[in-house]
Symmetry: C2
Subunit: 248 residues, 2 copies
Amino acid sequence: MSRLEAWPLPALPEVRPGDDLAALIAVAAGDALRGGDVLVVAHKVVSKAEGAIVDLAGVAPTDRARELAAEAHKDPRHVQVVLDESAELVRAERGVFIARTRHGFVCANAGVDASNAPGPDTLVVLPRDPDVSARGLRAALPGRPAVVIADSFGRAWRNGQVEVAIGVAGLRPLEDWRGRRDSAGRELRATWIAVADQAAAAADLVRDKDSREPAVVVRGLERHVTDDDGPGAAALLRPPAEDLFGRG
Amino acid sequence: MSRLEAWPLPALPEVRPGDDLAALIAVAAGDALRGGDVLVVAHKVVSKAEGAIVDLAGVAPTDRARELAAEAHKDPRHVQVVLDESAELVRAERGVFIARTRHGFVCANAGVDASNAPGPDTLVVLPRDPDVSARGLRAALPGRPAVVIADSFGRAWRNGQVEVAIGVAGLRPLEDWRGRRDSAGRELRATWIAVADQAAAAADLVRDKDSREPAVVVRGLERHVTDDDGPGAAALLRPPAEDLFGRG
């Protein structure tokens, strides 16, 4: 019988650019982590440690940013940062920008976020390459747990946000049952399971949004944890050419 | 400190139309369930117990079903059942039907599924009203746990499926932090958390797809469990008029 447990590590101090995040997590973890565990880390502390922060004072909005900002009643500099982080805007309607990020994630505002930013005129953006960040954390953490870097994404058609994986190291991001059959020989329907996204979602259930508990241990996924770092969250991105909702 | 645990109840016998599902689960559960727990139940056993099964022998495909089936290389009777379950087809491309179901869920094939169906020429469809099903199970189960009825949905833009809630009783489906602010007074970004979907995802991590363990206990969500049954999974449906990806 499989059993899952999840709990947050103790609070971290405020993370600043240049901080050694793995060292801060290691102090919080003590001897709590072991191989086979999955450590789910909120992306914002990763972004902050890596300096993925934009000071609005240095942002010069283009005409396009000004135009979109006027329609959306937003700060043109903020919109410019969203555009800078975007490979394409999938939707810009009703004050909502749904963008495909440089990495390929489709999410609101290209992941650009003002809340919990280090200053009133700063924005936190996604880590430059969250899979690389995850691999770095994994290598440096005691016990070498698998690492998932998570962000909250809205969904088409459903209210509310769920946490998803934007960086992964050492966890099989997808469990592939395609081609396997049920007891009567019919192909199984739910056959390609986004394990890393579900691990991120499980972790979010124990974390308060206003706390400083960015790291959650998920234990019980040993069968999905691999010695090598694996393909990362990049494997979770559906190629735009295969997607039915790219531009519509 | 919050802590989450999840584990499957022992296997159920094959569920047949007319079976008392709550009684079958109660036997499997023994004294494992208590108030404050969330029991996540795979929708398929609910559908089977409720007789939400279609025999293809009695299905007469319309011209539209024949046309769509020819394009998609599918059985026209199967396509007809998908159409019967659909309020609208959101996309029909490359052999994939994304439909808005009668309930309002947007998912592949309107939730119609051949795998693990009771016979070679039968299909399992979604329960008629999964919120009603969840309330019925809750009322009849020992310990009166909250109940989530779950199904695996694909997502736009991301590979793989995740489990989501299609029926809920006694669990707050969404945790609403909208309007709350961070320590510096900026509005929080991820502010409307789809708790029930994340509980369904967590439960899926401990359940093998080919096992007969349709019921998973999730413990540690007491703060989201309510005495009344609440708004159900209906609260998770974004109204089509507010959605940016309705028809594209």
